[in-house]
């Protein structure tokens, strides 16, 4: 295995600690929230959990020292525009803390993305155009509402498929039950 460093996403939690794990040739930078500090000393299984969490949140290494972008935490003056921006931000996925929308995440990159969205809305762009702009850069991954295509077809048709298989199994079973009753009786 080749030596590999992870990148800095922006940190997910203020005051995150840095932990350097060296196992074999692999080097990973892992962050964990301050509340996990004492737990880590308790046992290795918690360490496993930290490794797991590091998979959920891109590892970060340090806090940048800039204040958030103007529109990261400030609403637009026009309530109608803010409502449009808010709806779009809830649909966009944070690149750093990947289980959250950019509306929910405090990661600096999410703040910068909110600034980007609000600035574009204020400049008169439509939410659909902004989404298209972001999808062109990050792929459908960045949206919580991906379009119907080859990759998502199984999600849409999966339940119908399972229902059909279940129906087919149940039908076969009922029929066999009837024919067995018939032969016995």
């Amino acid at each position: 295995m080749r030596e590999r460093f992870t990148r800095c996403g922006a940190p997910a939690q203020a005051g995150a600690h840095l932990l350097l794990k060296r196992s074999g040739a692999a080097v990973r930078l892992i962050t964990y929230g301050p509340e996990m500090g004492p737990c880590l000393r308790r046992g290795t299984w918690v360490f496993g959990l930290a490794v797991l969490l590091s998979g959920l949140c891109l590892p970060a290494t340090a806090q940048d020292r800039l204040p958030p972008a103007p529109y990261a935490y400030q609403q637009l003056k026009d309530p109608a525009e803010e409502a449009k921006a808010k709806a779009l931000m809830e649909e966009l996925r944070c690149l750093v803390c990947q289980g959250q929308s950019i509306a929910d995440s405090d990661a600096p990159l999410a703040g910068d993305m909110r600034h980007e969205v609000r600035s574009k809305i204020a400049a008169g762009e439509s939410p659909a155009a902004i989404k298209t702009w972001l999808v062109a850069r990050y792929g459908n991954w960045v949206s919580y509402d991906p379009p119907f295509d080859g990759a998502t077809a199984l999600l849409w048709f999966g339940p119908l498929l399972f229902l059909a298989v279940g129906g087919w199994l149940a039908f076969g079973r009922f029929r066999r039950g009837e024919s067995e009753e018939g032969s016995e009786g």
Binding site: E3, R7, L29, G55, L66, E116, V135, A136
Partner: protein
């Protein structure tokens, strides 16, 4: 009953599911998000200098006929320090490198360059990550290979390792 083995199918499915879960628990998923903005022109930008004594970076400067690297970095990013020797090696091999500093302060950039060296021809300051977002970049460090016409040809996510240096030089050479 004839097909007795059919009774074991649910157990086998459970076993497969369990195996999949245990595999994912021991080998966490790769969570890199690759930029889709590849084989596309550099987005338009005009970034101010990241610190005193360096030149800022304009997208129009990236189409001067010479293939180059654009390195997205930050002084607060520890892996970026680990990448510095490789960038120096690329510079020594004649590769032009421009930098984009993400969410950085001029003093911090100056201290960073002082500490790890400055392989950059120009360094633009991207205070609100807007160019980073326009590039489809999701973290630091990231490096983009740009051809002589200013078209982005490849994205490298994470630290450039020493064994990747010759390959990058060859790729840029091939773009000439």
């Amino acid at each position: 009953m004839k097909n007795r083995w059919v009774l074991f199918v649910p157990l086998a499915i459970m076993g497969l599911l369990f195996g999949a879960f245990i595999y994912r628990l021991t080998v966490p998923a790769e969570t890199l998000i690759r930029s889709q903005w590849i084989d596309k022109p550099m987005p338009l930008f005009d970034l101010p200098p990241a610190t005193a004594g360096v030149e800022g970076l304009k997208s129009s400067q990236l189409a001067d006929g010479r293939p180059r690297l654009v390195n997205v970095f930050a002084s607060w990013c520890i892996p970026c320090r680990a990448e510095a020797p490789q960038l120096e090696a690329l510079k020594a091999a004649g590769v032009p490198i421009d930098g984009i500093a993400i969410r950085d302060r001029p003093d911090d950039v100056a201290a960073f360059l002082n500490e790890v060296g400055n392989p950059f021809d120009r360094i633009g300051s991207d205070m609100q990550s807007s160019v980073q977002i326009a590039l489809g970049s999701s973290g630091v460090p990231e490096t983009f290979l740009i051809d002589g016409k200013g078209i982005i040809r490849e994205q490298i996510q994470g630290v450039i390792l020493a064994d990747q240096v010759p390959g990058i030089v060859a790729k840029l050479e091939a773009m000439k």
